[in-house]
């Protein structure tokens, strides 16, 4: 699992690669919580290179969305691929979150 974050015009781009399962999710969850505690309020989660996401990973993303909502923040997703797209559909994430084809499109939308 690889986790990176960088800021771009007041938006934090988070990149998660590899697997987001019961083993790796606690670490990712901790890092996302750290970003919110550090004051980040608008997140673009770039999932290019994320091969697998389990229910534990989805649960962490839901909890992150809840934390951001409490702080009047927002979280969107970009670059979903294969299995992750399918899991997002099954779990109803497409209906709840905004999902964009690329990080640039997501940044453009958040910047509006």
């Amino acid at each position: 699992m690889q986790f990176d974050s960088k800021r771009n015009n007041g938006v934090t781009i988070v990149s998660v690669k590899g697997r987001m399962d019961a083993v790796t999710t606690p670490e990712i969850d901790g890092k996302l919580t750290g970003l919110i505690d550090g004051g980040e309020r608008r997140l673009v989660v770039d999932l290019a290179g994320l091969d697998y996401i389990s229910s534990a990973g989805l649960r962490s993303l839901l909890a992150t969305a809840k934390r951001l909502k409490a702080e009047q923040g927002d979280m969107v997703f970009a670059n979903l691929e294969g299995h992750v797209t399918e899991v997002f559909k099954i779990s109803g994430f497409y209906a709840l979150f905004k999902v964009y084809a690329s990080v640039d499109v997501a940044l453009g939308q958040l910047g509006k």
């Binding site: 389990s54 839901l62 809840k66 099954i90 779990s91 109803g92 209906a95």
Partner: protein, 296 residues
């Protein structure tokens, strides 16, 4: 235990008691005819009958414990005890299967005609017990519709195997007796024994498959976990935070516990409405009986 559960347990106990009496009689009679006939199939049938009787004794014992009304003492009921008993029976079935197959193969290599008073007694008894066992299969199917458990399913499988064995034995003994002057009829006996061994194999493998799975004290599979997440996603606006999701497979049943935080200013009625809605959605999508949404 509520009224419906008591009624269902009493009905199951009645079926088990009927099976206990007929099973005990069948073991004794099967032993008698096996001793008085030169048939490997009759010995195989005796082993199968004995195993079935042991399964019924186990089922009856489990139901007696359930009737005692102490099920609340066990967090997840008697499910795992039933599964453990099923696995023990499957092991005995597998051992018997090997013994029967070995004896049948030896008899195929050196065919011997079956004879003796046991053959005629066997034909008559398998006709009678075939009828009894078919009626027990039908009764068990009705009980399964009322409430499916590992125990009641195991009972139904046992009765089905017994009824099949009765039909097989009746046919093979009938052929052996009617065509006793033909050498080919000597092969009917070991062939019937192999057929009984095959029914044991089918029964044992199913019991192993279900009971081993049910015994594993594990979380529910990922596909089902996603359905819980979907329910939480749909109710996203109605709770404050997800604290924990615990799931468990135990004795063929699925248990789900979701710990949610609600906004302090939320009205009690609103929280209860959300809880009921979530529980209903998860229960329906997973087709399980025990879903708890716990406010923290």
């Amino acid at each position: 235990m509520d009224g419906n559960n008591k009624k269902s347990t009493a009905k199951r106990s009645s079926v088990a008691a009927t099976g206990l009496v007929s099973g005990g009689a069948a073991v004794g009679l099967a032993l008698f005819i096996a001793l008085t006939a030169n048939s490997i199939a009759l010995w195989a049938d005796w082993i199968a009958t004995l195993l079935d009787f042991l399964a019924i004794v186990t089922a009856w014992w489990g139901l007696k414990k359930a009737e005692a009304g102490k099920t609340d003492f066990y967090n997840y009921g008697f499910g795992r005890l039933e599964s453990l008993a099923s696995m023990g029976m499957a092991t005995l079935m597998a051992i018997s299967l090997i013994c029967i197959m070995a004896a049948a193969v030896m008899r195929l290599q050196n065919p011997v005609p079956v004879k003796g008073v046991g053959v005629l007694v066997g034909i008559a008894l398998h006709l009678i017990f075939g009828g009894i066992n078919i009626s027990l299969v039908l009764k068990s199917l009705v009980l399964e519709r009322i409430g499916r458990t590992a125990l009641i399913s195991a009972q139904r499988r046992v009765f089905t195997i017994k009824a099949t064995a009765n039909v097989l034995m009746f046919s093979s003994l009938g052929v052996s007796y009617l065509f006793r002057d033909h050498i080919w009829a000597s092969y009917a006996d070991p062939v019937a024994a192999i057929a009984i061994a095959c029914t044991l194999l089918a029964g044992a493998s199913k019991m192993f498959k279900f009971s081993v799975h049910d015994l594993l004290d594990c979380a529910i599979e990922e596909q089902s976990q996603l359905l819980i997440i979907r329910a939480l996603t749909r109710h996203f606006e109605q709770y404050e935070q997800i604290h924990d999701i615990r799931t468990r497979n135990a004795g063929g049943n699925v248990y789900v516990e979701v710990f949610l935080e609600f906004a302090p200013e939320s009205q009690y009625a609103t929280v209860m409405k959300t809880i009921r809605s979530l529980q209903e959605e998860i229960r329906t999508s997973l087709q399980c009986g025990e879903v708890l949404v716990i406010p923290v």
